[in-house]
Amino acid sequence: MIEFIAGVFTSSNYWFIVLRSTAPILLVTLGAVITEQAGIKNMALEGSMLWAALTGVIVSAFTGSPWLGMLAGILASVTIALILGLFALKLDANAVLCGVALNLFSTGGTVFVLYSLTGDKGISSSLPSKIIPFIKIPFVENIPWIGKVISGQNLIVWLAAIAVVVIHFILNRATIGRRIKATGENIEAAKAAGIDPIKVKFFTLIASGILAGIAGCFLSMGYTSNFTSGIAAGRGYVANAAQVVAGGTAIGAIFASLIFGLTDAMATYLQNIGLPPELIQALPYLVTILGFIVVTLIRDRRESIRKRQLLEGKLPKGSLKPAAVGGGNGAAGGGGAA
């Protein structure tokens, strides 16, 4: 068994699959992170991905261009995010419930549209849809192990990496990042500071729509080459769990989505040694829940230790300032969550 696992972890093919299955999760997780930072939960990410995947396939089939397909897919995904915003922010609806509603709307709606166009409910294979190109990197592809892992990945895998940088920049460097965090932490204070929270939340919803749109297009125009009903397979929900593991940062999102990617890729291998596929399919979701619990446990423990040290005055001099700030943040976070 150990030998088998060691074999998997050293195989370049395994890591190739890890990158491939992490990319879509990473993109949506970033979307979940940015909306959550502004204090709105986007549970409609699953629906956004479904519409993006379907629209991408249809438009690329009719125009013959994967790029137009992807653009249309992103627009469809953003539309779903905007509908969520309209109902949750303008019509005072419960955002989570709207997410549930939009996911129902999308699961049914995508199949309805697919059937009306092709006469098939399951798969879009009768549409001549296009594929977003895979990228072979000259020179790098000849490096023995690394070349096999990173060369030949889909363009969107690279886009996911770029998205991490962009979202990290938006959250930490730009003015808009400060506005997002202010809105998420204390909406009244944000208003007092002259920030329009509704505008900020709509901005994050659009950003998450774009990210989920790219991820959705990848699923039907790269990861596989067709739209199949329910193609998002809960990735939009996983993103909302991974977002907690990520701790609200873009860098954290990499690790959070890797948990899913590593298990998802491992599942293919475990199946080969005769473990029941049903149990293996359940694994990524189970591991996501576990990862989520472990992260909260660690965070809670660290907070309580820090608080105790602060109370007993046992903090070493050098760390007094950052620790006090951290403790304060922790307490505020706890208050917000409770």
Binding site: A93, V100, S106, T107, G108, N240, A282
Partner: protein, 388 residues
């Protein structure tokens, strides 16, 4: 307790009250309008995609009543969504969002299948034992997201959706590896024992005794939520958890207990569906009745009394859509699309309170006008304010 009961108006008086009390009438009207809007939108969609829209529309709207078979099928279709709708009423009274009842229902069906296939019990006892076991399993599963939320502040909807995948795959694993009928080409469990089947209510139809069990549960859950200490605690906790905690209500235990009851109902629903409708477990995928439960509970405004009405409405739409899609070119799935739209509308406070807001605004304007008129202003304002 007694004098509260004494003040309760009789049935006729309460109907009259309902129609004169605008705060109660208006939400009902909005709900009705949402339902009508959804049906109109469905008809619109049919006219966009169908080659023979008139026949399709007729089949969709009248299909459930065109044949007796269809009508009985509608009654049968009410059963599972009544159970999940009731289960979600409890969750929504608590102001939680979890959809774990999907796992409870599915696992309940799996547990019932195991008992229906493996155990030899006398008729009558057999489905009863299966329901109890399925209920317990469903109840235990139901508590998971609540525990996660209370202990680790995990969003209950997110964790319940994860669990739904886990329990779905685990359930199909159990069927495949322990209960599968290897003579069948499709995925199916071995056939149930004869003693497992619930009796039919009407011969040569699908209508089974589960319909009565569901009706009994409507009454039981209504009593549970509105006439018992537990139900009171659940509603108070949902309305204002801080107040409930100050009042000495053990908020965490109440939430977990409510989830257990909700999951219990879901589990029983799964078992009833198995023993009432099937001769073996033949679900190729999860029917996800919990998602239908969302709309049933919302149309009923979280009140178990109205669950049969909203379950009837949803079953009517589904049976109509099923009948239409079998005889035409419109996909059955458009019903799920409409469900999403109805939930969106019902979830919006601004839409729900539209009439009330308009009334208040008018009264305020009238009061202002009266003030501007001067003289009798004060008494006029007081009178109008009181009525609003």
């Amino acid at each position: 307790m007694n004098n509260i009961k004494a003040k309760r108006p009789g049935p006729l008086a309460s109907v009259r009250l309902f129609f004169t009390d605008r705060d109660k009438l208006e939400p009902a009207v909005i709900t009705l309008l949402a339902a009508i809007f959804a049906i109109l939108m469905g008809v619109g969609l049919i006219f966009i995609v169908s080659k023979d829209p008139v026949t399709s529309t007729k089949n969709f709207l009248l299909g459930p009543f065109l044949r007796t078979y269809n009508f009985y099928y509608l009654l049968v279709a009410m059963v599972p969504i009544t159970f999940t709708g009731l289960a979600l009423c409890i969750i929504y009274q608590l102001k939680y969002m979890s959809l774990i009842v999907d796992s409870s229902f599915y696992t309940g069906a799996i547990v019932a299948t195991a008992i229906g296939v493996r155990l030899a019990l006398p008729a009558g006892w057999h489905p009863a034992v299966a329901m109890l076991a399925a209920g317990l399993a469903g109840g235990l599963i139901g508590t998971l997201p609540a525990i996660l939320k209370i202990k680790w502040r995990a969003n209950e909807l997110v964790s319940s959706l994860m669990f739904n995948y886990v329990f779905y795959f685990f359930g199909s694993f159990v069927i495949l590896y322990f209960l599968r009928d290897r003579n069948q080409t499709i995925l199916a469990s071995m056939p149930f024992q004869k003693t497992f089947a619930l009796p039919k209510l009407v011969e040569n139809t699908q209508l089974h005794a589960g319909f009565i069990i569901a009706a009994v549960f409507v009454v039981l859950v209504s009593i549970f939520l509105f006439r018992t200490k537990w139900g009171y605690q659940i509603r108070i906790t949902g309305a204002n958890p801080k107040f409930a905690a100050y009042a000495g209500i053990p908020v965490a235990s109440v939430a977990i207990f409510a989830h257990f009851v909700s999951g219990f109902i879901g589990g029983i629903g799964g078992a009833v569906e198995m023993s009432g409708l099937y001769r073996a477990f033949i679900w190729q995928m999860n029917p996800s009745y919990a998602w239908d439960g969302v709309i049933v509970a919302m149309l009923a405004r979280k009140n178990p009394k109205f669950v049969p009405v909203s379950a009837f409405f949803l079953a009517y739409m589904r049976v109509g859509a099923d009948f239409m899609s079998r005889r035409g070119d419109v996909a059955f799935e458009f019903i799920t699309l409409l469900q999403g739209i109805i939930i969106l509308i019902l979830a919006s406070d601004k839409i729900a309170n539209y009439f009330k807001a308009r009334r208040l605004r008018r009264n305020a304007l009238a009061a202002e006008a009266a003030l501007a008129d001067g003289a009798t202003g004060i008494s006029g304002v007081a009178g109008k304010g009181g009525r609003a």
